[in-house]
């Protein structure tokens, strides 16, 4: 069992938990993810390791409540434990040898972006970070990102804070102004990553994106996480999750992400009607 020792509510549907997992904490690098299962009947769900403490033997996860499992996770409290936690999975992101990097995070993608921005910064690169959300109360990790960046830019769709508009507006300005950027890292909703990839292609700047395919095992065994990159089929869990954004077939990824939408609704209904009998209902 993997005990939760800290919990924070970052935004209404965005939570942070710190979990005891000494063997993962000892090995994890920025860009790696874990797969957890809350209980015997639960689904296996991937989350990026947002931060870690090798001395304490803990890892930090930040997640957006989108469906049954992430909402269930959001109801757990300090002292509760996860049944299964496996990792660190995936290839980590190389951060050495870069001089100037732009990090772009959208929505919950900002949580996935933060460890990478921090790693680039610690490796000596100049880091320009852009974060965006639909509205001000959904902005997360602002102080952390400030500390991990040379400059931080903020955008909200509704203009309630910072730039009124999309993160890509700011990205375009920065690409115009800084001709010496070695790399753009973009993590967020698929349409945002797609837009960043298209923009950087115009400016001929390399762009790394982190894909969030639906996964089962996370070790290359099922092929469920397959994506098309450069015309070839790749497995996100072992070949990624980071890929060259200019090569990714985002439309294919978007189609694959919605496949279980109807099932998702059925799990929710089942949950609502089980009256706490399942033992995993904490909402009643």
């Amino acid at each position: 069992m993997y005990k939760i020792i800290r919990k924070e509510v970052l935004a209404p549907t965005m939570k942070l938990i710190e979990v005891e997992a000494p063997e993962i904490a000892a090995k994890v690098l920025p860009g790696n993810f874990i797969i957890f299962r809350i209980d015997e009947k639960g689904e296996r769900v991937p989350l990026t390791v947002a931060d870690f403490d090798r001395n304490k033997g803990t890892i930090t996860l930040i997640f957006q409540e989108v469906g049954y499992t992430t909402k269930h996770l959001g109801r757990l409290e300090v002292g509760d434990a996860l049944l299964d936690l496996v990792g660190p999975l995936g290839e980590h992101l190389p951060v050495e040898g870069y001089k100037k990097v732009i990090c772009v995070g959208g929505g919950s993608g900002t949580a996935l972006l933060y460890p990478k921005a921090k790693a680039f910064h610690e490796a000596g690169a100049e880091v320009l970070t852009i974060t965006g959300a639909r509205t001000q109360e959904l902005l997360i990790l602002i102080d952390e990102l400030k500390a991990a960046s040379n400059e931080l830019f903020i955008a909200t769709d509704d203009g309630s804070f910072g730039h009124h508009g999309f993160v890509t507006d700011i990205l375009q300005e920065l690409l115009e102004k800084h001709k010496d950027v070695d790399e753009v890292v973009a993590i967020g909703p698929v349409p945002m990553m797609k837009a960043c990839a298209e923009l950087t292609k115009k400016y001929n700047v390399h762009c790394v994106v982190s894909l969030n395919s639906i996964m089962v095992d996370g070790t290359g065994m099922c092929g469920g996480c397959r994506v098309i990159v450069g015309g070839e089929t790749k497995f996100t869990c072992v070949d990624g999750p980071a890929f060259d954004g200019h090569q990714v077939d985002f439309d294919d990824l978007m189609r694959r992400l919605v496949y279980y939408r109807e099932h998702e609704a059925r799990v929710q209904e089942h949950h609502e009607c089980c009256g706490g009998k399942g033992g995993d209902c904490k909402c009643h």
């Binding site: 496996v86 070790t219 469920g224 189609r255 059925r266």
Partner: protein, 461 residues
């Protein structure tokens, strides 16, 4: 008493009934059935059957004990060579192993060795005996992968006095026995019992542990393990490389079976992992994996088809599985090969395009090579396609341990019969060495490696 020409029949769930549930198809012998079948064994002086068993189970010896109703002695004899008799009795391809060599089989049906093995093992389980742990007096050995190869190596090493830790990537031990072979062919509680037995012997199990990621093999040595056995299986699904394979509704057999078996999607939404099965499912392939997927699809309510590019005689699946599949209503489109999967504007599968095949001259595998018949394309409406054309070995370990050499197919190179790899102290066996094979062969490899590890560590002292 004249010999009965046919095997004592195996009681089974009726085909119409069983496609509505996931409980076991073959119900197992009664004591009377077992005694009747045991009588058919001639107790040969030179038992040929034994040659056909990869782990050399003392077949006439255990059958002799059944005849005399010394069942616990029969169990001991079986277990002296086979750690997992309840499993082998169910899933061994006996018709091409032990039973193929049985002399009774020359004129009549061979002795039902597998059925007897299963009955003895089930009798033993029903007794619910506690196993005494074995005291660890020797060094520490790491076993990677809790499939049949790893579990067997671990059990033997524990019995020899080693302190053994098994590292398993999944949240449940058993390998293909848990995530691949369906409940209706191998109930998971049987696998759990066998694993519990190995635990009781004293092996330690570390689940959720991906060697190569959580720790590398070199790090395991640094932690004090003196030898390592790698039994990580052939878990990388192959795709066909035809248009439409990434459409929603196309599964690898691994994903389809893992969702249903390991994650229990057949009990969705009580269990939270979904599997999407429409009205009609096509499974591509002709092996055990394809049969399992097709029969699983039936039980999830679909019309189920097998598309296979060769003829029935060339199908690698066990006869019994093909027979069961037909009985249940799986439809076979033999000598056909898919060339395209067709989707709608939402990116979901709506049809499959196949081409008819004919058999030409034998290829390097000795089987006649299938050749496309020009102009014979046809299209069938389908909702799901499951690709079951085989698995390659999982590359995680070789990738993280460069001094373990692999072949061009990705299997681990072994320097001798015992499974010694190109790295000192590291042995390997099972599907990771042979490519996809059988449960009993994986167990045989685990046994040999355990003996070799014992020799290696004893000589080091």
């Amino acid at each position: 008493m004249p010999l009965k020409p046919t095997k004592t029949p195996m009681p089974e769930q009726d085909a119409k009934e069983r496609i509505t549930n996931f409980t076991e198809v073959a119900l197992g012998y009664t004591e009377a059935d077992a005694l009747a079948e045991a009588e058919r064994c001639l107790d040969c002086k030179n038992p040929l059957c034994k040659q056909g068993c990869p782990v050399e189970v003392p077949i006439p010896e255990f059958i002799r004990e059944i005849k005399q109703q010394n069942y616990s002695e029969a169990v001991n004899i079986l277990k002296s060579k086979n750690n997992l008799p309840a499993i082998c009795g169910r899933v061994c391809p006996q018709e091409s192993q032990c039973e193929q060599y049985c002399v009774v089989g020359k004129k009549n049906e061979p002795v039902g060795i597998g059925r007897l093995e299963r009955w003895v093992a089930d009798w033993d389980m029903a007794r619910d005996m506690q196993t005494e742990p074995v005291k660890a007096t020797k060094g520490r050995v790491a076993v990677v992968g809790a499939g049949p190869a790893g579990l067997t190596a671990a059990a033997d090493l524990v019995r020899m006095g080693y302190k053994v830790t098994i590292f398993e990537a999944f949240h449940e031990p058993g390998g293909v026995l848990i995530y691949g072979i369906p409940e209706f062919r191998l109930p998971k509680k049987i696998v759990k019992r066998e694993v519990d037995y190995i635990r009781q012997l004293g092996a330690e199990l570390k689940l959720n542990y991906v060697v190569g990621k959580t720790k590398t093999i070199d790090e395991l040595f640094a932690d004090g393990y003196e030898a390592v056995f790698v039994g990580t299986g052939a878990g990388l699904p192959k795709f066909m490389g035809i248009p439409g394979e990434n459409l929603n509704g196309v599964y690898s057999a691994n994903e389809f079976l893992t969702r249903v078996n390991l994650m229990k999607a057949y009990r969705f939404p009580e269990y939270k992992t979904p599997v999407q099965v429409g009205k009609r499912v096509v499974v591509v392939g002709g092996g055990n994996v394809a049969m399992d997927a097709a029969r699983t699809a039936l039980r999830l309510g679909a019309e189920s088809y097998i598309v296979y590019r060769r003829a029935e005689e060339q199908m690698p699946a066990r006869l019994e599985e093909v027979h069961h599949a037909k009985e249940e209503g799986v439809q076979f489109k033999l000598l056909n090969n898919p060339i395209e999967i067709i989707g709608d504007d939402k990116g979901e599968v709506v049809a499959i395009k196949c081409i008819a095949m004919e058999l030409g001259a034998p290829d390097e595998s000795g089987r006649r090579r299938p050749i496309e018949k020009a102009g014979s394309e046809w299209i069938m409406e389908v909702d799901n396609v499951v690709i079951a054309i085989g698995n390659s070995p999982n590359p995680l370990i070789p990738k993280s341990t460069p001094d373990i050499e692999t072949t061009k197919w990705g299997t681990i190179v072994t320097k001798d019969e015992d499974g010694l790899t190109t790295k000192d102290g590291v042995y390997a066996g099972g599907d990771i060495v042979t490519g996809a094979a059988t449960v009993i062969e994986a167990m045989g490899a685990g046994k040999k490696a355990a003996r070799a590890i014992d020799k290696y560590l004893s000589s080091k002292k």
